[in-house]
Symmetry: C2
Subunit: 342 residues, 2 copies
Amino acid sequence: MTKPRSRRGGGRPTIADVARKAGVGAITVSRALREPERVSEVLRRQIQAAVDELGYLPDPNARALASARAEVFGVLVPSLTNSVFAEVLRGIYDSLFDSSYRIQLGNTHYSGLEEERLLQVFGPQRPAALIVAGVDQTPTSRRLLETAGCPVVQVMETGPDPVDMMVGFSHFDGGKVATEHMIEMGYRRIGFIGARMDPRSQRRLAGYRAAMEAAGLFDARLITTTPVPSSVTLGRELFRDALAKVPTLDGVFCNNDDIALGALFECHRASIAVPKTIGITGFNDLDMMEVAFPSVTSIRTPRYEIGRRSVAMALAAIAGKRPQEPVVDLGFELKRRESTAR
Amino acid sequence: MTKPRSRRGGGRPTIADVARKAGVGAITVSRALREPERVSEVLRRQIQAAVDELGYLPDPNARALASARAEVFGVLVPSLTNSVFAEVLRGIYDSLFDSSYRIQLGNTHYSGLEEERLLQVFGPQRPAALIVAGVDQTPTSRRLLETAGCPVVQVMETGPDPVDMMVGFSHFDGGKVATEHMIEMGYRRIGFIGARMDPRSQRRLAGYRAAMEAAGLFDARLITTTPVPSSVTLGRELFRDALAKVPTLDGVFCNNDDIALGALFECHRASIAVPKTIGITGFNDLDMMEVAFPSVTSIRTPRYEIGRRSVAMALAAIAGKRPQEPVVDLGFELKRRESTAR
DNA sequence: CAATGTGATGGTAGCGCTACCATCGCTCCT
DNA sequence: AGGAGCGATGGTAGCGCTACCATCACATTG
C-alpha cells in the first residue's frame, strides 16, 4: 500500500531486509555485524549469507546518528603540498586502510582561524578521533579539541602541555644538532635561511641560535627569513639575499630541504664550491637529498612513523587503552653527507 | 520526566531547541538554514538569533540520513605523496573551502582493487559528488561510479568514454610534444626512462614512441622502465641503467620530474655535460625544474586547475547545470629550458 | 463577493540504525 | 526441585533531521 522505499533513491537493502531474509530480528543483524562474538554461530552464518546475497552495506550516516559516534578520523594538516605532511598522511592512511574508519581531511593553510573553522565543522560529526598538526592551537581551537569527546593526537612536535596525546620530535633539538654539526665541521659564519616560519620553523631557528650562541658565533645578520611559503625557487632567492648580506658566509642551515636544494642549485649556478666554500644542511631528509650532487646533509624526520603512531595511539584510546605516557618523542637523525664534509 | 538527552553525549543543542527558543516550528528552522529565501525576514532573524545564542550546529549525520544525501565530496587519488596529486587536491580543497561540503579522501595506491573497495565504502554514504583520478577504472569500479547516483568527475586525463564528466589533458600528446622538442633540438638517441608506469605514464611512453617512429629514430632499447614507484633516487638508477645499455644515448625524456632530477644529478656526478652531451626533459614542471642547474625542460601540467575545474563541474552538475561538453581538456605547455638548449 | 490562487508556516512520519531493556530457555547451584 | 544467573535474541523507542502534505492568512480575479 504505502511505498516506504520511494523516498530513498537507490532502494538499497537495509538492515531490515537482511533481517527478514535471514529470519532474525534487525538488532541481531546489527550485532552480528559489529560484535559477532555475541551472536551464535548458526545465526551468524545465516545473516552473513543474507548480507552477501543482498549486497548489504550498512549506512554509515544512520549508524552515526543512532550511535552518536561516526567512524571517521578527522585529520587537520596545514598544507597538502608540503611533502612532509603528505608522508604523515600516508602513514595515517596506511594504518587505517584495513579498518572501517573513514578519513576526513582538512587543510588549515597554516591558519589558526581556518583551523578553528574546520574543528567547528568536524565537531557535530562526532568523529572517532582527531589528529591535528602542531601544538600551537588558538585558545578556541584548544577548547574545541578538549570538548570534542574523542581521542585527540597532536602530531609533528612534542611539547609540554598536550590536549590529549602527542607524537613528534623536538624541532628545537633538530635545529640545534644540525647547527652543532656544521660548527663541528669547521664552519663559522653559518647562516640560517627559512621560509614560511611557522611555529616549527621558529623552533628550529631557536635551536640554531642556541647552538651558535653556545659557540660564540651568533650574529643576527646571519638570519634570513620570510613568511612566504617555502619553495625551491624561494630557497635560491633567500640564499642569494643571505650571501649578499654577509659575503663571508661559509655555511647555511636551511629550514627545510626545498630551501637547501635552492641554495645548492644557486651554488652550482654561481660556481660556489660545496662543501668547500659553503656548507649546506637541510631539514627533513627528503629522498632527493641523498641523490643530490653533492649529497646534502639533513635531519631525517620520522614523518611516516608519526602518522602510523598517531593512529595507533588513537585506536588504543578508542579501545580504552590509553598509553602510560601521552607524549611520544620519535626523535630524528642527523644524516651527514657531502655538502658539509669539508 | 524522561531524559531524552541522556543518550547523546554532549547534549548539544538540536534543531528543536532552536525552534523552541525562536518560537517557531522545527521545520522552519531547517528551512531558514537551507533555503533562507523561503522564510520571512522576521522569522529568519529570530531564528538566526537563537542559533547564535545556542551555538547550534546542524548534525551532518542526521541531515544525511533524512535527506538521503551527504554533503561530502568523495575524492580518490592513487598517491598522497606524489606532488602532482597533492596539487590537484589543493585545487579541490581551495574550491570547496567556502562551501559546506566536507571532503573524504581515499588513497588507491594505484590499485584497481583498492579503488573498488573505496568506492564500495563511499557508496552507502551517498556523497554529493565523486572525483576520481584516471580513466582506467575496472569494470566493477565503473559500475559503482555509474550507479553512484551523483555527479562523477574523472580527472588527470581526457579520454573517449567518460562515466560522467572529465577534466584533464592528453598524456599521449604531452609525451609526443616533449619528444618532438628534443628531436627538434638535434637529439637523436633519445631514451625514455620511467617508473611506476601507471596508465598515464604508459600513454606518455606511447607519445614518445609515436614521435620517435615518425622521425625514424625509434629503438626499443632506448626504453628503460620499471613498475617500482618513482623517486629521485630511482631516476638516478634508471638513468645509469639506460646509459649502460645504450652508451650512445644523447638525451632522455623522463616520465616525470623526479626521474629527470635523478638523471640530472647523476650527470653532475659523472661529469656528463647537460645539455651538450645529454639533453634532459621532464614531465609536470615542478617548481624546482626552473631553478635547477641547468634548468630543466619540462611539460607544464595544469594540476591545480584540474582540481578547481573538477569541483566547479561537480558543483554545476549538483545544481542541475550540466556542462555542454562533459570532457574538458585543459592542455599543457612545453617549457623549454637549458637542459635541452644544445 | 465567492472562488481561487499563493506564500509562509507547521505537523507527521519516517530516514536506517542502535541503546536499552525485556524475554526466554538453559545451566548450575544449594 | 526451585530459583538464581547467564547468554542469546528480540521489541521498542528514539538519534536529529527533512520530505511531504496540510493549513491558514491574505491577495487576486471576474
